[in-house]
């Protein structure tokens, strides 16, 4: 018997839907083995990780809170990846968006400024994220620099810049020397949807982003352009689509969405600017984008699923005493399986009954 990977005539629509599910199943099996190796009961562990968070109203809301930035960033990244543009620096664009919006919040703090503050903060956050994303975009278009490296490295620049601000000029004078800004005023805070909950209006914005992206990718010529440039660059040029302009466009949109997610996170659940506002949303969103098949609705589902792993990981840390880093391990394994299973969309596995007689030992 022999396993053969065979090219399909057309991509399989069924597998395109099923492949992320296979990847999740394989990840769960791998995780179970890991738990067993750590000396935990795999079944209990998986229940703590994936079932318990779904049984409680508070954790359900927390899942939505965590999914909000993941979905927003993931949708933006999917536009890049569809166009074969590799923005790996959403984490940095997220941070810069948070910083830019916070500037207004810090400087209007206690001045009694009106309700224009929050909308202005959101706009500034999105604009700053987009501008920050222009650095790798322009370096790529003008000088041919790899956007993978430049966008990734700018993450650390953004992180250190924010660190400097909250430890230096923007530090809350009444903050007992903690590296944090003052709590934002209510006019500089994203309103919650339910009283006493952390679920905020940003979640609605994420849903709107998903809808707009669905319409754009499926129905507009711009969405078509993104898909053609990624799938067949030469045909895209023949169609009259300019790939350099598209690099700028996709970086701008994904940077803006990451920046918006950043300022919403700071002005929403966190309430002030401080280091560690992101548990790696910008990187996890890369997994979200691929797990969601680079499709906005898929990304919504994938975002909720990965948010579940964050919450489940926190639960597991407390009740199972396993390290929080296990969540990162989980996410890494998941991305690995997702990419592996993707090859099944264009290929099929076949079992071949017998070895050919005259060709021993061939692959």
């Amino acid at each position: 018997m022999q396993l053969v990977l065979e090219r399909r005539q057309e991509r399989s629509a069924l597998v395109a839907i099923v492949s992320p599910l296979i990847a999740i199943a394989l990840t769960l099996v791998t995780m179970a083995i890991l738990f067993a190796l750590l000396g935990k009961n795999p079944v209990t562990a998986l229940i703590v990780y994936f079932i318990e968070p779904l049984t409680d109203a508070y954790t359900l809301q927390e899942i939505a809170v965590k999914a909000t930035p993941l979905v927003m960033i993931g949708v933006g990244l999917s536009l890049c990846y569809l166009a074969n543009v590799w923005n790996i620096g959403a984490e940095g664009q997220f941070t810069i968006g948070a910083v830019a919006g916070s500037w207004l919040a810090v400087h209007t703090n206690g001045t009694g400024a009106g309700y224009w503050v929050l909308p202005a903060m959101l706009i500034m956050g999105a604009a700053a994220g987009a501008l920050y994303a222009m650095i790798p975009a322009i370096c790529k278009v003008r000088f041919g620099a790899s956007e993978i490296l430049t966008s990734l490295m700018l993450v650390y620049v953004a992180d250190l810049f924010m660190d400097y601000l909250v430890r230096g000029p923007w530090r809350d004078p009444k903050g007992m020397n903690f590296p944090t800004t003052a709590e934002f005023d209510p006019v500089a805070t994203v309103p919650t949807l339910i009283d006493g909950s952390r679920l905020h209006a940003g979640a609605i914005l994420a849903l709107i982003v998903v809808m707009l992206a669905t319409v754009m990718l499926g129905r507009t010529i711009k969405g078509f352009e993104i898909r053609v440039v990624g799938a067949a660059p030469r045909a895209a040029r023949f169609a009259g689509f300019n790939s350099s302009q598209l690099v700028i466009f996709t970086f701008a949109v994904s940077g803006a969405l990451a920046g918006l997610a950043g300022i919403i996170e700071v002005a929403g659940p966190v309430g002030h600017l401080q280091p560690g506002i992101s548990p790696g949303y910008g990187f996890t969103a890369i997994i979200v984008a691929f797990l969601g098949r680079l499709n906005p609705v898929g990304i919504l589902i994938a975002g909720l699923f990965l948010a579940l792993t964050f919450i489940g990981g926190e639960g597991a840390q407390i009740s199972l005493k396993v390290p929080l880093d296990l969540t990162k391990v989980f996410q890494g394994i998941l991305l690995f399986y997702v990419l592996a299973c993707d090859s099944l969309i264009v290929h099929r596995i076949r079992l071949i009954a017998a070895q050919p007689k005259a060709a021993p030992g061939t692959a």
Binding site: I221, K222, A231, R234, A235, A239, R350, A354, P356, A363
Partner: protein, 521 residues
């Protein structure tokens, strides 16, 4: 036939059947291949030729039937199993890495554990022995199509195959290059090898093959000696009916030039490409102008400059219907009523993994009412696919399949049809019937003639001299980036064209060479 009575077939395919869903791509096909024999496999698009050779090469598994190699039953689990037996194949679409050198490409395609230096030496040896010159250190993207084919052939020969399969090898060659290939094939036959040769060119099949198997609709129609058949009897067996001759519509030809190229000189984008040197040309409404020439003499550069994929130095280098278009984008040129069909069907003319409706949009978004305020009119794109399908007889399994799933001829009919249905005033088409069977080629050529009959200016860049002789009103030849003065078809004898194509110093070719020296030196 050179076969000695009593010879055993090298390979027997018995009752090969391949089913894709409800479609029978091969229906109990028998095929015997003998050593010292060139066997032609003939058939229309979708007749099942590719499926059959892919089965013989182990790429796909038959649903029923068996293969026998030297009298013994074999199951080929993959191409490497086929290669291990002694079966080699050259595909119509080459599988080469553009950024790697010739030697690196060959090394990647070989199964053995031979060292790179030894392999390179053997590569040089084989290419010298068979008269297929290749520089092992050259990168593939710098080579012409003909040279790329040479890599594939040499790579196959280095495995010393007993059976060679060639899929439409001459589709990309000039008459001279094809002649050289035939010499190689005859030599290989003399060495006792079996050759399975897929072609649509009936004259060629009659000329070099010892026997032929004809497929139609997945079934074997006949095995015959092509030398005892006429081209039309072979065609009749292939198609199951007589192929209509291309009809030339008389009395068209106006005097208004619709496409003008003025002293177009341009350096290539890639440092090893071809300089365009003072190309000038006028194509009038109602005429077809053919540009002949060996591949890699600036035709690709000329096409890119005409289409707008590259802009030229001055706006009036290219004039479309009176508008200086040299610096306009391809979209703006389409809006002026121009249409373009590039040489490469997959990846250039279409996005392979996208549906036909999306590929209709690929060129239709510019000027065909498929986009309103940035939104795609899906019904309009589907309607355009349906219209192209009906008028150009595009055969496909579903209403809107991915481009890559169509056979070469059907995809080409779709691409040409897509542009012609826009009723362009100017059509520039490169290799319109590249690797396309006789029936599809006739449809495409007829459509080009009718388009020009309706007043359009049609520029056909083609390596196929028969095609140019069949449809062009005037002919020019491209050599080293220089275009010869066009001559009337009646004056364009094969000899004259052949000399110009080789850059010989006869007649106008002298001026051509001098002009190019003056510009280049």
């Amino acid at each position: 036939m050179r076969r000695v009575p009593g010879d055993q077939p090298l390979l027997r395919a018995i009752g090969i059947t391949k089913r894709y869903g409800t479609l029978l791509a091969n229906d109990s096909v028998d095929l015997d291949l003998y050593p010292r024999e060139i066997h032609a496999l003939l058939g229309e698009n979708g007749a099942g030729k590719s499926t059959l050779v892919k089965i013989i090469y182990g790429l796909i598994q038959p649903s029923a039937g068996e293969l026998q190699w030297m009298g013994e039953k074999v199951v080929l689990s993959g191409p490497s199993a086929a290669r291990a037996l002694g079966i080699g194949m050259v595909f119509q679409h080459f599988s080469l890495f553009d950024n790697l050198t010739v030697a690196e490409n060959v090394a990647l395609g070989l199964d053995g554990a031979e060292g790179f230096a030894a392999m390179s030496a053997r590569l040089a040896q084989v290419s010298r022995d068979y008269g297929l010159p290749l520089d092992p250190k050259r990168e593939v993207w710098r080579l012409s199509v003909g040279e790329r084919q040479r890599i594939e052939i040499v790579r196959m020969l280095m495995q010393d195959p007993k059976l060679l399969i060639l899929d439409e090898p001459t589709a990309v060659l000039t008459p001279q290059e094809a002649d050289q290939l035939f010499v190689v094939l005859e030599r290989l036959r003399g060495e006792g090898r079996a050759i399975l040769y897929i072609s649509h060119k009936l004259d060629e099949v009659k000329r070099i093959s010892d026997s032929a198997t004809i497929l139609r609709g997945g079934k074997k129609v006949a095995t015959c000696n092509p030398r005892q058949e006429t081209a039309s009897s072979l065609a009749r067996m292939m198609v199951g009916a007589d192929i209509g001759e291309v009809k030339v519509t008389g009395g068209r030809g106006t005097t208004v030039p619709r496409l003008v190229i003025n002293d177009l000189s341009l350096e290539p984008e890639d440092p090893h490409g071809v300089f365009l040197r003072g190309v000038s040309l006028e194509v009038k409404g109602g005429e077809i102008l053919g540009i002949a020439g060996v591949a890699g003499n600036g035709q690709d550069e000329l096409f890119a400059t005409l289409s707008g994929e590259r802009v030229s130095r001055h706006a009036d280098n290219v004039i479309i219907d009176g508008h200086a278009a040299g610096q306009l984008s391809i979209t703006e040129r389409r809006r002026l009523g121009a249409a373009f069909v590039p040489e490469e069907r997959l990846g250039h003319g279409t996005a392979p993994r996208m549906r036909l409706s999306e590929n209709a949009l690929l060129t239709g978004h510019a000027a065909s009412g498929m986009v309103h305020h940035g939104f795609i009119d899906r019904p309009a794109t589907l309607a355009s696919v349906d219209k192209t399908t009906n008028i150009f007889d595009v055969r496909k399994a579903r209403r809107d399949p991915e481009a890559v799933s169509l056979s070469g001829g059907n995809l080409q009919k779709f691409i040409v049809g897509r542009e012609i249905l826009r009723e362009p005033g100017v059509l520039v088409v490169s290799q319109p019937t590249w690797g396309v069977d006789a029936a599809a080629a006739a449809v495409i050529r007829q459509a080009l003639i009718e388009l020009s009959g309706r007043g359009a200016a049609v520029l056909v860049i083609s390596q196929d001299l028969d095609e140019i002789a069949e449809i062009a009103d005037r002919v020019a030849v491209m050599f080293h980036g220089h275009l010869s003065t066009p001559m009337l078809r009646a004056d364009a004898t094969r000899e004259k064209l052949g000399l110009l194509m080789g850059g010989s110093s006869a007649g106008q070719a002298v001026e051509a060479m001098e002009a190019s020296r003056a510009v280049g030196a």
